[in-house]
Amino acid sequence: MNELHFFLIDDDEIFQFIMKNTIQEINPEIKIQFFTDGEKGIECLKENLDAANKLPDIILLDLNMPFMDGWEFLNEYKSLKSDLKKEINIYLLTSSNSQQDVERAKEISTLSGYLVKPLSRDGLKDLIQEFPTAEWYENEL
């Protein structure tokens, strides 16, 4: 089985660095691609609609980003989804632990779960182990 393929869409470069480190420690085979805002992520998906091998299994999506934030990304993604040749699970990965954001997230059918930063090594391991998650997934803090 191929190792998992991650997209991390987050404008925080430090966080990208941290995630890169964490994933390498878990399994260096795991592929991870970084995008600093939603727009860049969408563009990448659009370019690879038919190239299943270039599409991720998991998208970790930050909410608060310039140009196109997480919500906007999800909006755009909805219209793309049917054209994608691969099943993609999207998890919000945000520093916001506000209940308001969680509720809003649950309303979105394309979302698989809600992860609150920081995502520890064990937290990430859990996600990978349980993947693909059948129900709404939230990490434990």
């Binding site: 941290i18 608060n64 520093s95 920081p118």
Partner: protein
């Protein structure tokens, strides 16, 4: 108050006044009608009295005409036998003062006189009456004809008898069996008693006039028969009241008003009245006479309606009572109205007070709502913007701890440094934000907009790098606004800065600034022709902290957030409308509570 009272009183009293006047007019007219009817009745009675008293004479004259006098009876030497029979007849007739037979030449041939004591005596002397009217008028009198003389005074031997004796002479012709006229019979009817009866018991002055307007009877007896008495000034009604006399003779009506006085008249035409008397076998009397009298009642204006005093007094009393009652009622009503008005006014006052309080409450509520939103915003900032770097710090720190060697650890330091730098910046920005939120006593003043805008524009001229920019300003809506100078400067600076930063490179940039009054509020429009914003996509996000919408343009994402916060902290609000490629308009609405 007095005016209102008076008006109300008038409103109530006017109908009563009108009714009273109508009632008075009605009472007057009814009273006069009654008076006229009464007086007319009285005159009719008098008329009847005259006719009734005259009637027997007609019958008697007819009797003597049918008596069969012979030629010898018209000879004074041979008619002594008549004294007994005629004397008996005359004695029974009080009002007959003389009974005479006069021959065809006008000589008395037989004469009975009634003495003062009532005795009837055959006169020893006989007079020549051939020059008297009653003789001359009756010479051609035919069978069955009767003549009645005018009412005048008795003459004896051509001299007025004193005391005056008002007389009517009745005359009939005497014919013998062959129809040859022998002479005439003359009966003197003394009218003194009749006149006395007419003058008696009159409530109002009564007068009897003959056809020429001479007084036959009057309450002023000196006027009576003045046309017949020598050495007395001739006083006639005709001369005293010529216009009235004409009216009385012309008008059909039985009454008329003249100078306020009321005159009631009744005409007595002897011929007409007495011709109706059947004298013999349904034969009507054939009467020749010129007697045509006018019976008059004179009611002076001052005597008119005297007996109405009571009714008028009652009416007046009702009115006075009404005036007092209505005045009292009006007073009460006016007072009640004033009280009601005051009550309503005080209600209004309370209402106003409540409204004021409601406004204050609403104001407070708005402020609280705003504060709540700001707190949520703050919460949001902390959740999103502060938690991210702090979690990064903790992650980095745990990575540091687990670092295998110093080299690895060292590689984390620049990352740590940049995160802490970000935290510092964020904390500084948050401080600015919190300071605005907390600054309740920010100093406000009246600020002239134009100089402020000009000064701010000058600041940016350099950043344009020699490019020119169209600036359109229109301050016609308003010129000054009460606000914090620092905030307003910051707002304008940010908006101009944005307009320059996000200008459309393909166009000559322009900014338009316009003031306006909308619904009583001061509004400021800030329009540019820059790249514009896709509002469908970003909505109100543009006012959020660290929100940057344009990838290729630098921006910290603090400007519009600050603008919104500063405006809202002083009750103003900002809205945006924009279209991609067309430009953006910001609309600032200032609170008008001051």
């Amino acid at each position: 108050m007095l005016k209102k009272l008076f008006l109300r009183f008038c409103k109530y009293y006017l109908p009563i006044l009108v009714l009273s006047i109508l009632a008075a007019v009605w009472i007057y007219s009814r009273n006069n009608d009654k008076l006229i009817t009464l007086q007319q009745k009285e005159l009719a009675n008098k008329k009847q009295l005259v006719t009734e008293l005259i009637k027997p004479m007609i019958a008697n004259l007819y009797y003597w005409e049918q008596y069969h006098f012979s030629k010898t009876d018209f000879n004074p030497e041979s008619n002594a036998h008549l004294e007994k029979e005629i004397g008996d007849f005359v004695i029974g007739m009080d009002s007959y003062s003389q009974f005479r037979l006069i021959d065809l030449e006008g000589q008395e041939v037989f004469r009975l006189n009634r003495e003062r004591d009532g005795k009837v005596v055959k006169s020893p002397t006989l007079q020549d009456k051939s020059d008297r009217n009653y003789y001359l008028e009756t010479r051609d009198l035919g069978k069955n004809q009767i003549y009645l003389s005018p009412l005048n005074l008795n003459l004896e031997n051509g001299v007025l008898e004193v005391p005056y004796q008002p007389m009517i002479r009745g005359v009939s012709p005497i014919l013998d069996g062959n129809g040859t006229k022998l002479g005439i019979v003359v009966i003197n009817f003394s009218a003194s008693k009749l006149l006395d009866m007419l003058k008696r018991e009159n409530q109002y002055p009564f007068m009897l006039l003959d056809r020429a307007g001479n007084y036959l009877a009057s309450n002023d007896s000196s006027k009576e028969f003045s046309h017949l008495i020598p050495d007395v000034e001739n006083t006639t009604f005709y001369e005293e009241h010529p216009a009235l006399w004409d009216s009385l003779n012309q008008e059909e009506s039985t009454f008329l008003y003249r100078d306020g006085d009321l005159w009631i008249k009744s005409e007595l035409d002897f011929k007409k009245e007495l011709s109706q008397i059947p004298i013999f076998q349904y034969q009507l009397a054939n009467i020749r006479t010129n007697n045509h009298w006018l019976l008059l009642n004179h009611i002076e204006s001052k005597l008119l309606n005297v007996d109405l005093k009571k009714e008028i007094y009652i009416l007046l009393l009702i009115n006075i009572l009404g005036i007092f009652t209505l005045l009292y009622l009006s007073l009460i009503e006016t007072k009640a109205e004033i009280y009601k008005k005051r009550y309503l006014e005080s209600l209004e006052e309370v209402n106003m007070e409540l409204k004021k309080k409601k406004n204050i409450l609403e104001n407070t509520h708005n402020k609280l709502a705003l504060r709540n939103t700001q707190l949520l915003e703050y919460n949001n900032i902390v959740a999103h913007n502060l938690r991210a770097p702090t979690t990064s710090v903790s992650a980095l720190v745990s990575m540091l701890v687990e670092a295998k060697d110093y080299e690895e650890a060292k590689s984390y330091f620049p990352k740590l440094q940049s995160v802490t730098q970000a935290i510092n910046t964020l904390v500084d920005d948050l401080l600015v934000y919190v300071r605005i939120l907390n600054d309740d006593k920010v100093k406000t003043e009246n600020i002239a907009l134009e100089p402020l805008v000009n000064a701010t524009l000058n600041l940016f001229m350099e950043t344009l790098d020699g490019e020119t920019m169209d600036i359109k300003t229109d301050y016609s809506g308003w010129q000054e606004v009460k606000f914090s100078r620092i905030y307003l400067q910051s707002v304008i600076q940010n908006l101009i800065s944005n307009a320059i930063k996000y200008r459309d490179m393909g166009k000559k940039p322009s900014i338009s600034i316009k003031t306006q009054i909308e619904n009583g509020q001061k509004v400021l429009f800030f329009t540019d022709n820059g790249v514009g914003i896709d509002l469908k996509r970003h909505g109100t996000d543009i006012f959020k902290l660290y929100k940057r919408l344009h990838r290729n343009l630098s921006g910290k994402g603090m400007g519009l957030f600050l603008v919104k916060t500063q405006l809202e902290s002083l009750g103003a609000s900002i809205a945006v409308s924009s279209e991609l490629g067309q430009g953006t308009t910001f609309k600032i609405t200032f609170d008008n509570y001051e």
